[in-house]
């Protein structure tokens, strides 16, 4: 996962990368494993600048799925910071560039929410529900958006 060029570039451009090795950094693992409730490896956390967890990836993922989850988490950090434009752009990248991953329908859902948050216009939610009728219709995210139709 990590050595992939796309993953490495995305991480370097968007985050300060840090690692706690459960054996080699035993003291740090005791402290930060407890603080962030990391009880399994690999566990990858995306923290906002205040150190608050905004996204969690537990277990191995193939590269595309891993990259999509990293992008999803980065978008969630911007979403929490009410940076709607940046968040929508990153959600859209997941949806358009990594459409075959499990993260894509989640990105579509949050893309709609972000557009609504930015504009206050409920049409953004209606359009999202409509999009789910033709794509990812068998996912939980389609169910969640169905109330907007």
């Amino acid at each position: 996962m990590w050595p992939d060029e796309r993953v490495a570039r995305f991480v370097v451009e968007n985050f300060i990368p840090a690692r706690v090795h459960v054996k080699d950094d035993a003291d740090a693992y005791k402290k930060y494993g407890a603080l962030y409730a990391a009880q399994w490896t690999p566990t990858v956390l995306e923290l906002d600048p205040a150190g608050i967890e905004r996204h969690r990836i537990e277990g191995f993922l193939p590269t595309d799925d891993f990259l999509a989850q990293l992008m999803l988490g980065r978008a969630r950090i911007d979403f929490q910071g009410q940076k709607w434009q940046e968040a929508e752009k990153m959600f859209r990248r997941v949806y358009e560039e990594l459409a075959a991953t499990d993260a894509a329908p989640e990105a579509l859902y949050w893309m709609g929410v972000t557009r609504y948050k930015a504009s206050g216009d409920p049409i953004a939610l209606k359009e999202t529900a409509r999009a789910f009728s033709t794509r990812y219709s068998d996912t939980g995210w389609a169910k969640k958006s169905s109330v907007w139709a």
């Binding site: 990590w2 050595p3 060029e5 490495a8 570039r9 991480v11 370097v12 968007n14 985050f15 300060i16 990368p17 840090a18 690692r19 706690v20 090795h21 459960v22 054996k23 080699d24 950094d25 740090a28 693992y29 402290k31 930060y32 494993g33 962030y36 990391a38 490896t41 690999p42 566990t43 990858v44 956390l45 995306e46 923290l47 906002d48 600048p49 205040a50 150190g51 905004r54 990293l70 980065r74 950090i77």
Partner: protein
């Protein structure tokens, strides 16, 4: 491009605040 993971977590969290930059925190058991 290679990711240079840092292990000084406390300092990383301080710098994240100062630089307003998010953090990737990888808990790993893989051979280093």
């Amino acid at each position: 491009m290679e990711i240079q993971f840092r292990h000084d977590i406390e300092k990383v969290l301080e710098e994240a605040k100062d630089q307003k930059k998010p953090v990737i925190l990888d808990f790993s058991a893989a051979p280093m």
